[in-house]
C-alpha cells in the first residue's frame, strides 16, 4: 500500500517535472568556438533547398543571402544598392532599364559574370525557362524582352511602368546552364557554399575573389538546432556564437558571455478590427479602443520593454514612409475612451471576442494585456484561441471574426505591400476597411511618377488609417539576437536576412 503512495507521489512529481520541461538533450558541451576567423551560427531549421530559385523557407533565404546576389541587393536602410550591376539608367517612359554590369565579377567557380548569365537567371526565376520546381517571381513577368547589346550590358523592356520593379531584381544571378545548384550551389556572394549535412549543419567559406573585398570571417558553420530547449544550452556551452530570433525569455536567461542585439521583426502588430461588424463599424468605437489600449504598457508587460510602438500600418525600418507623429496620435486616455463609447451608444461598454492563433504566444500575451486594459473602459473582451489553419481560413480568408491580434508583414520592400491591402476591393483586405478617400489616395500613388510625391501620398494613406482608427496599432515586435562578446558588425535589415559579411571578431 505504501508503494502505491510512493508511486502516486512519484507519478505526480514526474508529471509536473515533465510539464516544467526538465528535458535537456541537445549537444554535448564543446570547446570554446571563438577563433579569430571562425564562426558558429545556430539556425532553427534545416535548409529546404540550396537552389536560390527553388527555396521557399524564410530561414533558408536568411542564410543563403550570403551566397547569392542579384543585379541589386538590399541595404540595411531599406534602399537598393548596386550589386552585380554597377549602374543603371531608366528610360523616359520607364519601360526600359539598362544595366551596366560590374566588370570582372567572378562566380564561386571562377567564371566571370556576363550578360548571358543575367538573362539566363532572370528567365529561370520568372519561370519562363521551363526549369522544374521554380518558385516563380510573378513581378518578373512584367519583362517583355531582354537584350544584350554586349557582354556587359543588359536591357530589360517592361510591359508597364512599375515603381517597385527594381526591388525584384534582387533575384539571384547564377551561372548559365550550370545544373548542380541543388547540391553544389554557385553564386557571387561574399561566402561560398562548402557542404551540408542534412539536419545537422551547413558550412560556408569566405570567397576571396568577392567583388566588394573578402569578408573577415574565413569559415561559418551553421548548426541546425531545432529543439527550442537546446538553444540556450548550445549558446552557453560554446557550440554556437550567434543565434537569431530568440524569445525575450530565452534572451533574459543568457549569461554574461553574450550581448543581446535588438532588431525589429518588421511587421505591424495590431488589434485588427473587423470594420464591417457591429460595433466596430462605428469610427467612435474604434477610436475609443485606440484610446483605451496603452501600447507602451503592452510592450513593458508582455515584452519586457522590447518593441517599437507604432501608430499606423508602417514600421520604423521603412524610414522613408514611417511617420512617427502617428505613433502617439491616440495617447492612453480612459476618460476620452469612455466619452467616445457613450457617444457611440455604449455607455456601459460591450462584449467582444479577440481571435488569436494559439501557436503564437506573443500574440496571446498581447491579447491578455489588452483584455485587462479594455476592462477599464467597460469593454468585456474574451480571447478565442484558434489553430493557425483555422485562423487562416476563417479569420483571414473568411473574414469571420470581430477582432484579432496578429502581425502583418510586407512581402516585398515596398510601402504598397503594406498599404494596398486596405483598399476596399483588395482581396486580402481582411478587416473590410472601406474608405473612399483611401482608395483614391492609392490610385493617386500608383499614378505618381515622382518618388518623393509618391512617398507623400503613401504617408497620407497611413494618416488616413490612423485618423479613422482602422485598427488598434501596437508595435513592431523586437527581434532579439544573441551575440557572443567579441563578435562585432551585426547589421539588421528590413527583410529577413542574416548578413555575415560585416561580422568579425574583435581582439
Amino acid at each position: 500500500m505504501k508503494r502505491t503512495f510512493l508511486a502516486l507521489l512519484a507519478g505526480a512529481a514526474l508529471f509536473c517535472g515533465l510539464l516544467t520541461g526538465c528535458g535537456s538533450g541537445g549537444n554535448p558541451p564543446e570547446q570554446e568556438a571563438a577563433h579569430a576567423d571562425e564562426l558558429y551560427v545556430g539556425i532553427a531549421q534545416d535548409l529546404d533547398s540550396l537552389d536560390p530559385h527553388k527555396m521557399v523557407a524564410a530561414g533558408t533565404k536568411e542564410i543563403m543571402f550570403n551566397v547569392f546576389e542579384g543585379l541589386v541587393k538590399p541595404a540595411p536602410s531599406g534602399d537598393l544598392l548596386p550589386a552585380l550591376a554597377e549602374n543603371w539608367t531608366i528610360s523616359e517612359d520607364r519601360l526600359a532599364y539598362t544595366f551596366r554590369l560590374r566588370p570582372g565579377v567572378k562566380f564561386h567557380n571562377g567564371a566571370i559574370v556576363t550578360a548571358a548569365d543575367v538573362v539566363y537567371s532572370l528567365e529561370r526565376a520568372s519561370g519562363t525557362s521551363g526549369a522544374a520546381d521554380i518558385v516563380t517571381v510573378d513581378a518578373l513577368s512584367n519583362i517583355t524582352a531582354m537584350e544584350t547589346p554586349d557582354e556587359m550590358t543588359v536591357i530589360l523592356r517592361l510591359a508597364e511602368p512599375s515603381n517597385e520593379f527594381l526591388s525584384y531584381l534582387t533575384a539571384a544571378v547564377i551561372p548559365a546552364d550550370y545544373d548542380q545548384q541543388d547540391t553544389a550551389p554557385v553564386g557571387t556572394g561574399p561566402f561560398r557554399f562548402v557542404s551540408r549535412t542534412a539536419q545537422e549543419s551547413v558550412v560556408l567559406e569566405r570567397f576571396d575573389d568577392y567583388w566588394g573585398g573578402a569578408a573577415a570571417l574565413k569559415t561559418v558553420t551553421c548548426r541546425v538546432i531545432e529543439n527550442a530547449d537546446s538553444i540556450l544550452m548550445s549558446l552557453q556551452s560554446g557550440a554556437v556564437d550567434l543565434f537569431a530570433h530568440l524569445t525575450i525569455t530565452q534572451a533574459q536567461q543568457l549569461t554574461a558571455d553574450f550581448a543581446i542585439e535588438q532588431g525589429a521583426m518588421n511587421l505591424v502588430q495590431a488589434l485588427y478590427l473587423n470594420n464591417a461588424v457591429e460595433p466596430f463599424n462605428d469610427v467612435r468605437v474604434r477610436q475609443a479602443l485606440c484610446y483605451a489600449v496603452d501600447k507602451q504598457a503592452i510592450i513593458d508587460l508582455a515584452f519586457d520593454g522590447f518593441g517599437f510602438p507604432i501608430g499606423s500600418s508602417m514600421y520604423p525600418a521603412f524610414s522613408k514612409y514611417f511617420d512617427d507623429a502617428l505613433t502617439d496620435y491616440y495617447p492612453h486616455d480612459t476618460e476620452k475612451a469612455k466619452e467616445l463609447l457613450a457617444a457611440a451608444g455604449y455607455p456601459d461598454g460591450f462584449s467582444m471576442t479577440i481571435t488569436v492563433p494559439s501557436n503564437y504566444q506573443p500574440h496571446i500575451d498581447t491579447a491578455q494585456v489588452i483584455v485587462e486594459q479594455l476592462k477599464e473602459v467597460g469593454v468585456r473582451a474574451e480571447i478565442l484561441p484558434v489553430e493557425w489553419e483555422t485562423w487562416l481560413s476563417e479569420t483571414y480568408t473568411g473574414r469571420n471574426f470581430e477582432s484579432t491580434v496578429i502581425g502583418v508583414d510586407a512581402s516585398t520592400m515596398t510601402a504598397r505591400a503594406l498599404l494596398e491591402r486596405f483598399t476596399s476591393t483588395a482581396g486580402n483586405n481582411f478587416i473590410n476597411y472601406n474608405n473612399e478617400a483611401y482608395d483614391n489616395l492609392f490610385q493617386q500613388a500608383q499614378a505618381c511618377t515622382d518618388d518623393d510625391e509618391q512617398t507623400e501620398v503613401y504617408r497620407a494613406m497611413e494618416r488616413n488609417l490612423t485618423e479613422n482608427a482602422a485598427n488598434v496599432y501596437i508595435q513592431d515586435m523586437a527581434d532579439l539576437l544573441a551575440v557572443r562578446h567579441g563578435l562585432a558588425g551585426v547589421r539588421f535589415y528590413p527583410i529577413y536576412v542574416l548578413d555575415l559579411y560585416g561580422l568579425h571578431w574583435e581582439s
Partner: protein, 267 residues
C-alpha cells in the same frame, strides 16, 4: 475498529485545500487577472507565491486555477462515471451480443492514449470553450468506469442473492439499482478517486497543450505551461503551482487509499 490514518490525513489535506479553493470563488488576495509592473517578484510578504510574467499574484491565480481545475475534473468525473456506470451496469447485467460489441468498442477506445482521444474529440467540438473540454474529457473517461462496473455486475449476476430476488419477481431495474449497485460501491469509490486524479491531470495536460482553458483564465495546467517558459527566471512559479497540484492529488489519493483500507476491514 483501527483508526484509519490514510482517510483522516486525506480528508484533512483535501478539506483544507478545498476550503481555500472554495473561498477563492468569492475572494482572493488580489484580482487574479490584474497586471502590474512588479513582474517576477520572488515570494515575499505581499505576494506569498511571488508574481508571474505579467506581474500577477501567483497565489491568487493558484487559488483560482485550482478552482477551475477542480470544477472541470469534477464535471468530467460526473459525466464519465454516470455514463460509464449506466453502460457497464446494463452490459454486465444482461450480457449477450450488445455487451460484446459495446465492451469491444470501449476496448478499442482505451487502446488510444486518452489525451490523444480527448484531443480528437475537442477538435471536433471546437476548442476554447470549457463545456467542450469537459465533454471531451468526460467521454474519454466513460470506458474505464464502464469496465469496472461491468465486471462487478457480471459477477453479481451469478450470485445467489440476485438469483433469489429474480425468482421473487423483482424487475431488472430494481435488481440493478437496489440490489447490485450498493454492493459495487467499494469498487466504484476507488475508481472515482483514481478517476478524479486522472481528470485533474488530464485537464492540466489539455490546458498545458493550449486547448484547455482560455487565457487570461487560470488553471493549474495552463499556469504550469506558462511557468515552464520562465523557469530559469522565476522557478517559484512552477514550483508553487506544481506543489499545490501534487498536494491536491496526494490528498485525494490518500482518501482513496483510506476508503479501500476501510472496505478491506469490513468485508
Amino acid at each position: 475498529m483501527k483508526r484509519n490514518y490514510y482517510l483522516c490525513a486525506g480528508l484533512v489535506l483535501t478539506g483544507f485545500l478545498a476550503a481555500v479553493t472554495l473561498a477563492g470563488f468569492f475572494w482572493t488576495p488580489y484580482d487574479s487577472a490584474a497586471m502590474s509592473a512588479d513582474k517576477f517578484l520572488p515570494p515575499c510578504a505581499a505576494h506569498i507565491f511571488g508574481t508571474d510574467n505579467f506581474g500577477r499574484d501567483i497565489f491568487s491565480r493558484v487559488i483560482e486555477g485550482a478552482g477551475t481545475s477542480f470544477v472541470i475534473a469534477l464535471s468530467t468525473i460526473v459525466i464519465g462515471a454516470s455514463g460509464g456506470i449506466v453502460l457497464g451496469a446494463v452490459t454486465g447485467y444482461f450480457g449477450g451480443l450488445a455487451d460484446e460489441i459495446l465492451i469491444r468498442i470501449g476496448d478499442a477506445l482505451t487502446a488510444f492514449p486518452s489525451i490523444l482521444l480527448a484531443l480528437v474529440v475537442i477538435s471536433l467540438l471546437g476548442p476554447g470553450k470549457p463545456v467542450n473540454l469537459v465533454l471531451s474529457l468526460g467521454l474519454v473517461f466513460i470506458p474505464s468506469f464502464a469496465r469496472v462496473t461491468r465486471a462487478a455486475f457480471a459477477e453479481a449476476r451469478e450470485i445467489n442473492y440476485v438469483k433469489s430476488v429474480r425468482l421473487m419477481g423483482a424487475s431488472h431495474a430494481r435488481i440493478m439499482l437496489v440490489h447490485i449497485l450498493p454492493n459495487t460501491t467499494p469498487v466504484l469509490l476507488s475508481a472515482l478517486t483514481i478517476g478524479f486524479n486522472n481528470a485533474v491531470l488530464a485537464e492540466a495536460s489539455m490546458s498545458y497543450l493550449g486547448i484547455g482553458v482560455t487565457p487570461p483564465d487560470a488553471s493549474l495546467g495552463y499556469m504550469l505551461s506558462e511557468a515552464q517558459s520562465v523557469f530559469g527566471r522565476a522557478p517559484w512559479y512552477a514550483l508553487t503551482t506544481g506543489g499545490v497540484m501534487i498536494l491536491f492529488l496526494f490528498g485525494v489519493g490518500l482518501i482513496g487509499e483510506g476508503l479501500r483500507a476501510r472496505e478491506g476491514e469490513t468485508l
